[in-house]
């Protein structure tokens, strides 16, 4: 073994030459990487390793935790009173804003033809503290001090009081690693709140921006548009605020618009985050693997049967009728980049038009419930859309294999990712 270098002779003592040992370790790490990446055999090992790492992480974060505790406990009376006043004003504002909430909810249920008002989609939430540890400087990850012992599961939505933060990626018994929406590997299916245009927001790798790389150059997007979750993708429910469009750049030679958005959540300021559990049978809820029955949700909140369509359809109505079929295929194309786990497809698509109809509720009120959407809201024929979704939104769908271009009849409404759908889109779910 002299070929392995000058040190080889004197290192023969333990367990073979360095070359031999290196080969063993290299093989071992390749096997581990393969198992970790391509199968789920190491989930348990990861779980225990995360448990073992947690005390170290706590210890590492303890100086900064102690510092902020000290700062808090030495806050002056004056500061406390100021904060108290501010909080009181804030609370009053929130209460006033939510005063008509119940009435609006009932009205909404009537408009949507539901038998009773929906409960809030968030069933339960828990505030978790961010453990101040460096997870990876190149990635946007944070560690929360809640784990499976608190009922946290993988792929759970994490928000703060202003907007969406991210989702859990690895969950240990007492801690969970969260991938933020600004991580370059994270993609969140969003919808422009103003017009219901759906697209995907991909993290740009820094705390201050998201990219919207799949909007065509003629897409109706403006600076200041609010992006909300579209409910596709099976992780986030529909309608949660994500970001505000900060910059739109139309380049004449580029087929796609360059759009950047600023996340609403305080990505780098948050010391606390909220883990949310959603009602699985709520129409706005993200589809979960457990929900295999696509049709039946909560039996009490099913849509009423659609009344017959009026014979004399106005122009908008007639247009709305044609996209019914095309919208099914285009909702397929948007569903495909982030397929919901399992065969669940109905719930994610249902809330989309619910969210899409908000400003023109008057139009929706005039039309029969089943056809209450404008042409922007896909799935005008509500019972049809879920069925076609179910057929395509299976787990095995890869982004490349799906995504036909948007039908020509609806060029501006469906930003079907042309040619190259989000490469990173399904990533957070696969891990």
């Amino acid at each position: 073994m002299a070929a392995f270098g000058t040190g080889a002779r004197q290192l023969q003592g333990r367990g073979g030459s360095p070359g031999f040992r290196f080969t063993l370790y290299a093989l071992l790490s390749i096997v581990i990487m393969f198992l970790d990446e391509r199968s789920h055999w190491l989930e348990n090992a990861r779980y225990f390793l995360q448990a073992a790492a947690y005390p170290v992480q706590l210890a590492v974060s303890s100086p900064s935790a102690a510092w902020s505790w000290l700062q808090e406990s030495f806050a002056t009376r004056d500061e406390l009173r100021k904060e108290n006043n501010r909080l009181r004003a804030q609370q009053r504002a929130i209460e006033i804003r939510s005063m008509r909430f119940d009435a609006l909810q009932k009205e909404n249920a009537e408009l949507r033809g539901l038998k009773e008002a929906l409960p809030a989609v968030a069933e339960r939430w828990e505030v978790a503290e961010v453990v101040n540890v460096e997870l990876n400087s190149l990635r946007q990850r944070v560690l929360l001090n809640r784990g499976t012992s608190n009922g946290v599961f993988k792929g759970q939505a994490v928000v703060d009081e202003k907007g969406l933060l991210g989702q859990t990626l690895h969950v240990g018994p007492w801690s969970s690693e969260v991938i933020l929406i600004t991580d370059p590997e994270h993609a969140v299916p969003v919808q422009i709140e103003r017009n219901g245009l759906r697209t995907i927001a991909v993290g740009a790798g820094d705390t201050a921006s998201l990219a919207l790389p799949y909007l065509p150059a003629n897409a109706d997007v403006k600076t200041g548009d609010l992006l909300v979750t579209s409910g596709l993708g099976g992780v986030f429910p529909a309608g949660y605020p994500v970001a505000r469009v900060a910059e739109v750049h139309h380049d004449a030679v580029q087929p796609l618009a360059q759009v950047r958005a600023t996340p609403l959540a305080g990505i780098d300021l948050d010391r606390e985050a909220v883990l949310v559990w959603f009602r699985p049978d709520h129409p706005a809820a993200p589809g979960t693997a457990a929900m295999t029955d696509t049709k039946s949700g909560n039996a009490r909140i099913q849509p009423l049967p659609a009344p017959p369509r009026p014979a004399t359809a106005p122009g908008a109505e007639a247009e709305g009728a044609t996209p019914a079929k095309s919208s099914a295929s285009s909702s397929k194309s948007t569903a495909a980049p982030k397929p919901s786990p399992g065969t669940k497809g109905a719930a994610p698509s249902a809330p989309v038009h619910a969210a899409g109809t908000r400003t023109e509720a008057a139009a929706g009120a005039a039309a029969p419930p089943a056809a209450s959407t404008r042409s922007e809201a896909p799935g005008a024929a509500r019972p049809e859309a879920p069925r076609s979704d179910t057929s395509v939104a299976t787990r095995s769908e890869t982004p490349r294999s799906a995504a036909p271009p948007a039908p020509a009849t609806a060029p501006s409404q469906e930003p079907a990712p042309p040619a190259k759908p989000a490469p990173a889109a399904p990533e957070p779910e696969q891990q």
């Binding site: 392995f4 270098g5 000058t6 040190g7 080889a8 004197q10 290192l11 003592g13 333990r14 360095p18 070359g19 040992r21 290196f22 370790y25 290299a26 071992l28 790490s29 390749i30 096997v31 581990i32 990487m33 970790d36 990446e37 190491l42 090992a45 990861r46 390793l49 995360q50 073992a52 790492a53 170290v56 992480q57 210890a59 590492v60 974060s61 900064s64 101040n132 540890v133 460096e134 997870l135 990876n136 400087s137 190149l138 990635r139 370059p184 590997e185 790798g205 705390t207 780098d268 990533e427 891990q431």
Partner: protein, 157 residues
């Protein structure tokens, strides 16, 4: 080998691991020297028989637990450069500090390249140039780190 240097080795490696996960302001973060790599490399030329590749591999695995998207990624990269250092420890040890720093620079670049390659293979690529920055800072800090470890935990093998 008695167990004493092994103990010191484990202790310093653990400290290096903690230094790696210590929170820093975001602008300083990419420039954080690869403390774990420096410590493991130091021990692999100072006491190649006591720790060597096993120390590198387990240290890297520890780093994977804290930071790696894939388990075994840093372990493989660190085991590889440790192997080179263990093999060539006599040549490297006899070099002046400046040349050692250059060698360490090359080693950290190789290490980062392996990590980068595995990132790409497993579908988590980060192409930001910031990821290469710590090879420079690691090389800059190497003479001091080596002097400190020799002074504090001394007695090369």
């Amino acid at each position: 080998m008695n167990s004493e240097p092994r103990f010191r080795m484990l202790l310093t490696t653990l400290v290096a691991l903690i230094l790696t996960v210590l929170p820093l302001p975001p602008w300083m973060d990419p420039a954080r020297p690869a403390f774990l790599v420096l410590t493991v490399l130091y021990w692999s030329i100072a006491a190649p028989r006591a720790g060597g590749i096993a120390l590198g591999w387990f240290g890297g695995l520890g780093l994977d637990v804290f930071q790696g998207p894939v388990l075994g990624q840093h372990a493989l990269a660190l085991a590889f450069i440790t192997y080179i250092f263990v093999r060539e420890h006599q040549k490297i040890r006899s070099k002046p500090a400046f040349q050692q720093a250059l060698i360490v620079f090359a080693a950290v670049v190789i290490y980062e390249f392996i990590v980068f390659a595995i990132d790409g293979w497993s579908g988590h690529p980060i192409t930001s140039p910031a990821r290469w920055l710590h090879s420079v800072t690691s090389a800059m800090i190497w003479p001091f780190a080596a002097a400190f470890l020799t002074h504090r935990y001394g007695r090369s093998s």
